[in-house]
Amino acid sequence: MLKELSCPKCGAPVTLESERQQIVVCKFCAAPSVVDFGDREHPRLTIEESGVIDTAAAVSGTSLWGDAWKRLLKNKLAVFGLVVLAVMALLVTIGPPIFTAITGLTADYIPDDGALLKSFPPSLQHPMGTDEAGRDIFARVLQGGRISIAVGIISTIVSLIVGVSYGAVAGYMGGSIDNVMMRIVDIIYAIPYILIVIVLLSVFGGPNTQVLIAWLPSIVAGTIVGVAALLAAFWIYRRVFGEMLARSIGEKAIRLVSGIALAVGVFLLIGAATSVIGETGLGASLAERYSDRVNLGLSQIFLLFFALGLVSWLTMARVVRGQILSLKNQEFVTAAKATGVSTPAIIFRHLVPNALGPVIVYATLTVPSVMLSEAFLSYLGLGVQAPYASWGSLAADGVKNIAIFPWQLIFPGVTMALTLFSLNFLGDGLRDALDPQTRKF
């Protein structure tokens, strides 16, 4: 029996001609390895002891994810990114309370000493200096990191949920449904979304968040009522007229017409139900009851999650659709269909998990782009607002004083750039690891 072995020096495969062969010369790097197996009755060395690695044994027992993990660990930049992100995550989660315990400073502590100049350069007491109001920048960077990372992750999760379901349904359904769904994505793609986000945030931001709170219950209730009414109407329609129509104009036409009717109906009914509930004063009374309990700064941040998630699902939908298209004709889907699995179950239990690789990669690359958008909006004064802080808003504050107090920009800016740098490297590394076919050579 011939064994597949690998050279101890360069790792290239080495073939033993026979079990008795004593010296093997690697064809690749010409390094000789001594293999002394002895007799069958008097074994001197096992394969492990000979220093020659049995690749056959090493390969058996690794999974796809295990392989990917190994490839990722070989990529030094990706590991660097992973380590930086782990440290950053640790710092922002447990950092603020520890820092407060040590120095007694919190992120929004303003010293009340009446001094005119409150911006101090980095010192032992303030590792990153203080800002205009005398607040410790290190504490604010730690606190801001929580919000920046939260915005990045939560918006990405929003875009994951929307994008994956949308793309998967479009890809699996195919035909005219796919066509319509992807045209909608194309249309939204062409809209300069940043303008819409700016309008959305400035219109509903700040004190106007109250209005959103007043509308929110109306919109939610309206949606539920609208969808329920529509489903009932649809069911009745199929039961009563379905067969008659199918005979006259055909099944496909019915599906098309009912699809369009469904879309228009959902839109109209949600609007109608929303305005009815809004008019009856239910929304207003709710808003009145809760307005003093709602934290304006926080609701601004939630608006940010929503607005950024809303615009970043498009590429995700395209990526997922592409994956699903290549997967849906494979045997395991046919098998699932044959055993009577329902369509939603096929999509979400069988197809989506198999498309996970590119989704993870793209999600990793969405986080930095969302964080950049957040920083951009905060810079314009539309994002996170005081007393809350994010890396973007801290850097934006620092920009104002750059010529006199450069540390107010440098520390938040560098922290943010380092995090984005790591995320980008990790995303690149993950792409190479999870999807070796598309790796950039």
Partner: protein, 315 residues
């Protein structure tokens, strides 16, 4: 499609509480009613919506109507007027079209120069990195590209100002003026696109250089220069072309920041001002104008695919 955007924007502005007039000092009710009548704000919301829609697209003009806004022409005996966004509320007596026309050149100049610079720098770096794959140039330029992707432009801009304008006195720090004033804004704006384009070009070129048609071209005995210039670049540049669409949208966002940093009176600055002032006609006008612009450019990009890559054909 542009109508969809206009409707969405109009709806968002309308739902929001407060109007332009809230911020001004309280007016006597009679005057307020008159102003509202002038802008049609006294009518129900659906009438206002259709009035807005008519003005924004096309409508027939009343016989005694005289206005210089929009595009006017005659169809038989009826006069038709198109693309009229009305007057700005904040800048009285100035039409939205006029404001856009006045401020667009600033933004367009910076945007176009920045994109060309990004194409040259990014494309060159990417090409070079792909040809000298795994060399020190490759790693160097890719690390630099990654850095470009990770530094927000509102951080990069002030740092450039600090070093080159306030430190070395090479270029002016801000405002509009000669060619020297353009240097810093253009660099700030183009950094992130140069980084993107460098990465895309490198990936695209590496893939193309391994494809069969390049091997064929080499086998025919073509020298390396013409293989590269005539065959490889056309295929390798496709990812860059398809990036143009998203880049245009992002370029808009970029100009907003850059114009703010360098105090340039461009469209981005005016847009932010109009949103914050609740200057509804101006906001609407700018959104509609930019949407149409981006859509047109996207269309051009789509059409140019066919010329670049004969494998892509439209039925």
């Amino acid at each position: 499609m542009a109508l969809l955007v206009v409707t969405l924007t109009w709806g968002l502005i309308r739902i929001a509480p407060g109007t332009f007039y809230d911020s001004e000092k309280r007016l006597p009710p009679a005057i307020e009613a008159n102003i509202k009548k002038k802008y049609g704000l006294d009518k129900p919301w659906y009438t206002q919506y259709f009035m807005m829609l008519g003005n924004v697209t096309c409508r027939t003009m009343a016989a005694d109507e005289t206005t210089l806004n929009g595009v006017q022409f005659s169809l038989g005996s009826t006069r038709v007027k198109c693309f009229d966004f009305g007057d700005s509320l904040k800048y009285e007596g100035q039409s939205v079209n006029e404001i856009i026309r006045r401020h667009l050149p600033y933004s367009a100049t910076i945007g176009i120069i920045a994109y060309i610079l990004a194409l040259i720098v990014g494309g060159g770096a990417g090409l070079f990195a792909a040809l000298r794959q795994n060399s020190i140039y490759d790693y160097g330029s890719m690390a630099l590209a990654m850095l470009g992707l990770s530094v927000p432009n509102f951080v990069l801009g002030p740092i450039l100002v600090l070093v080159f304008a306030l430190g070395l006195y090479w270029v002016p720090a801000a405002r509009w003026g000669g060619v020297l004033n353009l240097i810093l804004p253009v660099i700030t704006l183009s950094a992130i696109y140069a980084a993107y384009i460098a990465r895309l070009t490198r990936a695209g070129m590496l893939e193309v250089m391994r494809s069969d048609y390049i091997r064929t071209a080499r086998a025919k005995g073509l020298n390396e220069t013409s293989v590269l210039l005539k065959h490889a670049i056309r295929g390798g540049i496709i990812p860059v072309v398809s990036f143009t669409g998203p880049a245009l949208a992002a370029l808009l966002a970029g100009t907003v920041v850059v114009e703010r940093i360098f105090s340039i009176p461009g469209l981005g600055n005016i847009f932010i001002q109009s949103v914050l002032n609740r200057d509804e006609p101006l906001t609407l006008g700018i959104v509609a104008f930019l949407s149409v612009l981006v859509m047109l450019l996207n269309l051009i990009v789509d059409i140019s695919y066919g010329f670049l890559d004969p494998r892509i054909r439209y039925e």
